[in-house]
Amino acid sequence: MIRTAYARDVHASTAVRSCRDQLGPDRPELVLAFIGGKHPPEAALSALRDAFGDVPLAGGSAAGVIAGTAFGYSGFEIGLITFTGANVTPRIFTTRDLLADERAAGLGLGVVVQGNSIDGSAVMLLFDSVANVSPLRLHPASQLMEGFQEGLGGRALHVIGGGLLTDINISDGWVFEGGEVRKHAMAALVFPPNLRATTVILHGCRPVSTFMEITRINGPEVLELDGQPALTVVERMLGLELGTTSGQQLSLVATLGQKQGDPFAPYDENNYVNRLILRADPAAGSITLFEPDFAVGTRVQIMSRDNSLMLDSVERGVADLKTRISGQDCVLGLYIDCAGRASVMSGAATEEAELVISSLAPAFPFMGFYSGVEIAPFAGNYSRPLDWTGVLSILQRDS
């Protein structure tokens, strides 16, 4: 049995009590919680303990919560998923070593998951996105996933996931791990083998430049594009005064996209891996991306966020998903939505999350959250981290 509940209140205890009332008195085997970032984590943990006793906990902070009936990103939302029964309850494996070495932490967790799963198992990864608050540094999901995939060996899993934030401004993030509130930790929720996942990735970016080659890069910091300072190239595109741009201005506007497959194939949103811009350094003329997975020689295009394309992508993606899950025994819908897609940030006239809910109209338990990074199977291959996407995944009982 899987149940979901959503509530919003300035007091975590009140919101959790409201959720508990919606879920009924039964004791679940696992509570997966998404806690609005304005709630003090200890208060939320205490409220969950009061409501559920010593039931195992997973989840953590969320920049916002998306439920089947409501959604919000005020920081006071709480969304809970409870699992009861071995046929639906995921097993949880964790690592606390992200700060030391993300790749190594991912590798270690991948090895454990490999030994506790079978091919095709659905796995959800949750970790706190912010490694350091000032200066802002994220835990690079690309390194986590690189390690995780290596740890899996040949195991082919259906991996989805997200980076947890406390708010849309990427102020911080935390996770529940081992019954405590932690940072620099990642949890893998390995679902029972009788559950399979069907996932679509909802996009929203369009290339607005010709291909450019990264000619200088240091980790996530792109110094040059086609031999020119990367920041100058982006500023010129935007018509901004050169050398005056902050990273936050850019993160609202443009991304760098890497096209997969034939570079000259017609535009297909599913062929692009986008990287948001975290900050800009006018002195170095560089832009720093969310992830460090581009290299010298990587051909990229400047991508524009396109709100109408984003909404079109939702309608297309949800329609495709509904076709694929038609007639299936769906037990849970999960939505991992980039925080930047919220209309308060994107400026979209329609809330994208609202469109997802209304288009999907789930007749099964549904819960989602606003994330810092999304992880999903990409182009039929291993899962990888994505920016500016919505990852919509439905768990079904194996027929």
Binding site: K38, S209, L252, N307, M345, G347
Partner: protein, 453 residues
Amino acid sequence: MSGELAGKIERLERELQYYQREYNEIGARLLRLQEEQSRASREARRSRIVARLIRGAYQIVNRDMPAEAIGEPLLASIADTSVCDRAAFLTEDPATPGRFVIEHGLGPKVGAQVTLEQPPSFLYTASGQKIGPAGEALAALLGVPYLLWAYEPASRRALLLGNHTEGNIHRPFEASDQELVEGALSVYIDVLLRKLAETTLRQAATAAEEASNARARFLATLSHELRTPLNAIIGFSELLLDSGTRPPDREEFARQILDAGQSLLSLVRDILDFSSLSNAVPRLQLDWVPVGQLLQASVRAFAAETASRGIVVELLPVVPRLQSFIDYDRFRQILSNLLGNAIKFTPTGGKITVSARSTTRDGVEIAIRDSGIGMQPEDIPRALEPFVQLENTLSRRFPGTGLGLPIARQLTEAHQGKLIIDSADGRGTTVMVIVPPSRMRLAPDAAAGASPG
């Protein structure tokens, strides 16, 4: 390569460069257009914040909650609509202008204070802008550097919003945000004043209703209390007028008429007393009164009645030379009312204990404890209201206006004292009259037996 082919390649390369240039130019325009559209949409959303707040505020105001409870949900609504990290409503201390206390806070602690030399009506902080002392103090209070502040001196209230990062969601705070923060503050003040007015109105309505109920109770009680002795007077007078009435009976009837008349007189005195005490503090003839003598005299006055009812009244020993600075006659009235009540509600064979104790901390405490019917704790406040005799089977048997306790309390309070009732249903009642330490002393030996007055 032929010249023709080379020319073709050159043309194609130029054509490619042309398309690249145009693609990039159109792409850049698209990018800017998209951003302008997004920015316009975000600004439009921002401009709707106050309107959304008003809508949310009136949803809150229509809920049944006291005025002091609306601050928190309204603050949450402001934080939600403006998407800020922290927020607080502050009130200015009227005794210390410039000192603000957090009344409701999301993030900062309620009760935290800040003092501003000259509180600005509006303030915002942004990087590259000089932050004055007020901005620094408010940033320290809220725990974040980027602020929006509005202050309304007339109501002594302020709203403070803050963010961890400058580019929160759309853009840094700027001067044009004055409308937003002042609008939000105005909505709060309007809703608060409306709630306070509602509360005042409700209290006035409740008071009026209570007064009306009291008047109705008074008339009902009074008509009953008047009718009983008047009926006796009229009835026995008619019997006296009957020439056939025997002389021994005439004497008895005359006594009944006298009793009824005295009862009426007592009733009228009580009503006048209560009325005058309700309108003005009584003028007291204060003097040092020996407490022991006061209690003895009060108990003695009821000796005949207690004897006839078979009720034992025990006066416990009083500390010798204990005196209290009181109006002797008024205190006799207090004790008379309390003893009268105790006797009235104590069944035959019951016991009443009268005692007095003194401490330097509490003063003089006179206690009258009966073994009567007692009352429920929740009924005690009602027993102190005028014209109320608690509804129970025993009290129906007892006449009275229900003015004894209210008069006793008013007279006690006129002495800066307190009247406290401790009672349990079926286990008797203890009434304590406490006179403050400033009105207590141990008299010199010579004065110990001095008469009051």
